[in-house]
């Protein structure tokens, strides 16, 4: 039975719980230590974005199996204000908050797959995956 959990994200303590849940899923899938660290770090960045900019939301953690490859997919969803200019939001150093502006671009670099959908006024959905190599 492959893991498929959805956790809610309401406070900065939840970011710690999400890091732990993602780590445990990555260990179960026997991702390498570097791959584990990358996906946990990407999860931490995206969870903080969901909290700070989306006003909280949910994270879905799915274990994947595809013709011998194993992977982990994370989906962050919020019903916040959305991101009007996605291209700009993905640039390093761009932020509308008080962070470093590395969250989205950094999470994309740390993942094997990255997708983002956002509608102003409706919310944002970011999906990343990391596969065994």
């Amino acid at each position: 039975m492959l893991r498929d959990d959805t956790l809610s994200l309401r406070s900065s303590e939840d970011i710690v719980l999400i890091r732990q849940a993602v780590r445990s899923a990555a260990v179960d899938l026997r991702l390498s230590l570097v791959d584990q660290t990358k996906i946990v770090t990407a999860a931490s960045e995206l969870a903080r974005n969901t909290l700070d900019y989306g006003g909280g939301g949910t994270v879905r953690i799915e274990a994947l199996q595809d013709s011998g490859r194993r992977g982990l997919r994370l989906t962050f969803e919020d019903k916040g204000p959305g991101i009007p200019d996605l291209e700009r939001a993905l640039k390093d150093g761009y932020t509308t908050g008080n962070g470093l502006g590395l969250g989205l671009g950094g999470a994309r670099r740390l993942s094997s797959e990255f997708a983002i959908e956002s509608r102003p006024g409706e919310g944002t959905k970011v999906t990343i995956a990391r596969w065994t190599t």
């Binding site: 780590r23 660290t37 990358k38 931490s44």
Partner: protein, 142 residues
């Protein structure tokens, strides 16, 4: 309330981060350290992160802020014990921790601090430690 303990040893403050920090805990550590540097008249801060499995941009930024705050308060900071997987991930994330001095372990970190305090005082323990260290090792750690 949760707090990360800060130990004082002579002119040094020692912090070992042993838990996965939530954001507020990291902010509290930053404030506590600033207070303690002044109260204890500390000249140096050593932060051991060898237990941390993840350093994201928030924690990375906090380490940079602590180093900057300490510098303004006339204290040196060294961050020691970063795991290799954390270093790889941090650089790929885009955060190379500019302005933060690092060392492989507590011993090497203390050596750096001792030497740099020795330089600013021009004598005492630091200078003695420097004359003991072989030149090649001293170069590698600069």
């Amino acid at each position: 309330m949760d707090r990360i303990p800060i130990l004082k040893m002579g002119d040094y403050l020692l912090v070992t981060v042993q838990v996965d920090m939530h954001d507020r805990l990291a902010m509290t550590l930053q404030e506590d350290l600033a207070e303690r540097i002044v109260k204890a008249r500390a000249r140096a801060v050593l932060i051991d992160i060898s237990a941390l499995e993840v350093v994201d941009s928030f924690i990375g930024r906090m380490l940079g802020s602590i180093a900057a705050i300490a510098r303004v308060l006339d204290a040196e900071t060294v961050v020691v014990g970063m795991r290799p997987a954390v270093a790889i991930t941090l650089v790929e994330l885009g955060l190379a921790l500019p302005g933060v001095r690092t060392a492989l372990n507590v011993e090497k970190g203390m050596e750096i601090l001792r030497r740099s305090l020795g330089h600013s005082e021009g004598n005492g323990n630091g200078a003695a430690a420097e004359s003991v260290a072989p030149p090649s090792e001293a170069d590698a750690e600069r």
